[in-house]
């Protein structure tokens, strides 16, 4: 091959290398900036604002927070995402999610799986749950309010919401929680406010 061929190949390679270098220095890095939650067991003792109540009332943005009823436990499943500015839908992040409560005497937590937890609401008050994920920077702060049992009102708007596949890319994957867990112990399935003192 002629010398000119090799010179052209070398120039093209250099150009590509320069272009790659520029691309690497300006591309956004994945981080945890969006966390979707879903309540399973104990859902009737928690209130949240659905991401899209028209299609799915069970998933919510943890950055918005949630409300819990005093003296109960709930299971929370999480789905961590990165809102890639160059993508049309959030990118799922894979790793172990960690959680911490700023006021454990109000809400304490323990892990159920790599991405799910149990929240125990001990007493009325407020706390902030901090979520992070291994392998990625960023964190999510979720405000949680524990309401006295006599004041708690179970908001049922998330139930009976028609769901359908979202062609635009539903943000939440979640784990295998169904969101309609059985009330574990007593005969109170679905009618948690029958006892004295609860209001509607």
């Amino acid at each position: 091959m002629s010398t000119r061929f090799w010179q052209g190949l070398l120039a093209a390679s250099a150009s590509l290398a320069m272009l790659a270098g520029v691309a690497c220095t300006t591309a956004a890095q994945p981080e945890l900036d969006y966390l979707v939650g879903q309540i399973g067991e104990g859902y009737e003792y928690a209130n949240w604002t659905p991401i899209d109540p028209r299609y799915d009332g069970v998933k919510f943005d943890l950055g918005v927070g949630l409300e819990l009823k005093e003296a109960i436990g709930v299971k929370l499943s999480t789905s961590p995402y990165w809102r890639d500015p160059e993508a049309s839908s959030p990118t799922t992040l894979y790793g172990v999610v960690a959680i911490q409560s700023s006021a454990p005497d109000v809400v304490s937590v323990f892990s159920a799986s790599p991405t799910s937890f149990v929240l125990l609401a001990h007493a009325p008050g407020e706390t902030t749950l901090s979520f992070s994920i291994t392998g990625y920077p960023g964190s999510i702060q979720a405000p949680v309010k524990v309401t006295a049992a006599t004041d708690f009102v179970d908001v049922d708007e998330r139930q009976n919401v028609e769901t359908r596949p979202d062609a635009g890319g539903d943000a939440a994957e979640g784990d295998d929680d169904a969101g309609a867990g059985d009330d574990a112990a007593a005969t109170d399935a679905g009618s948690s406010d029958a006892e004295t003192g609860d209001s509607r």
């Binding site: 399973g40 067991e41 104990g42 003792y45 009823k69 005093e70 003296a71 109960i72 436990g73 299971k75 323990f110 159920a112 149990v118 125990l120 609401a121 001990h122 007493a123 049992a149 867990g181 009330d183 574990a184 112990a185 007593a186 005969t187 109170d188 948690s192 006892e195 004295t196 003192g197 609860d198």
Partner: protein
């Protein structure tokens, strides 16, 4: 001398005290925790607990035994075991909110303090592994269950119709009843409730039975009338006795 006993109503509370002997074996009442890691088991701490069907003469209190709704003020026991033996060992049970569900570490008993839903946690050491929700209910009234009488009596004639018993005995007569606490829809509430027994005139009618056994033995004395009252908070039951000659 013939002594006549007229019982207009006899109500025995599901009562028990802190020194109750261990209750007899009962059907298992279990529920799986919310994480499917542990199984929570309810246990009676006294034969007076309506959850325990200890008398073959009485109709079963429940056809089956779902995890019971528990009366506020009642004592009961909870235990936890792992769903998989290889996963956890020696699980204990704790309460999420002691103001709602108290726990006496010495006796190992839980006591419902407020009506509502309260969670309990299965723990291994200090590490929680699973949870379950219990329902505590304020009892609204008593329901009377009636069994066949037993005891030492002579020439007894027992009429069980109409909820009123008539009997005559020379010395003593024994009836077997159980009064259980129920909620608004007539569902029986579990738990052993503390109670107080009194006789308005012990010389006429002396109560000799152990309340925790749910047996009332009335021993006649001199002629006259007496009322034996069983009470727990605002709930009461009584029996009028007329001892005649």
């Amino acid at each position: 001398m013939r002594h006549w006993f007229w019982l207009t109503s006899l109500v025995l509370f599901g009562c028990g005290d802190s020194d109750d002997p261990p209750p007899p074996e009962q059907p298992a009442t279990e529920v799986q925790g919310g994480l499917n890691r542990a199984i929570f088991t309810y246990a009676c701490v006294s034969v007076s607990d309506a959850q325990c069907n200890v008398d073959a003469e009485l109709s079963p209190l429940r056809e089956e035994s779902p995890f019971p709704s528990i009366a506020v003020g009642a004592s009961f026991a909870l235990s936890a075991k792992p769903v998989h033996d290889w996963e956890y060992t020696d699980l204990g049970v704790g309460t999420v909110a002691p103001e709602w569900l108290g726990f006496d570490a010495q006796s190992g008993r839980f006591v419902g303090k407020q009506a509502g839903i309260v969670s309990v946690v299965a723990v291994q050491g200090a590490t929680p592994v699973d949870f379950a929700n219990l329902r505590l209910v304020q009892p609204t009234r008593l329901k009377l269950l009636q069994g066949t009488p037993q005891g030492d009596f002579t020439g007894a004639k027992v009429d069980l119709g109409g909820g009123k018993l008539e009997a005559s005995a020379d010395v003593q007569f024994t009836f077997k009843f159980r009064a259980v606490a129920v909620e608004d829809d007539d569902s029986i509430l579990a738990g052993s409730l503390p109670c107080t027994w009194t006789s308005s005139d012990p010389e006429v009618a002396r109560l000799t039975s152990d309340p925790e056994s749910n047996l009332a033995t009335v021993v006649s004395g001199r002629a006259g009338t007496a009322t034996i009252t069983v009470s727990y908070g605002p709930l009461t039951g009584y029996v009028n006795l007329e001892v005649g000659q």
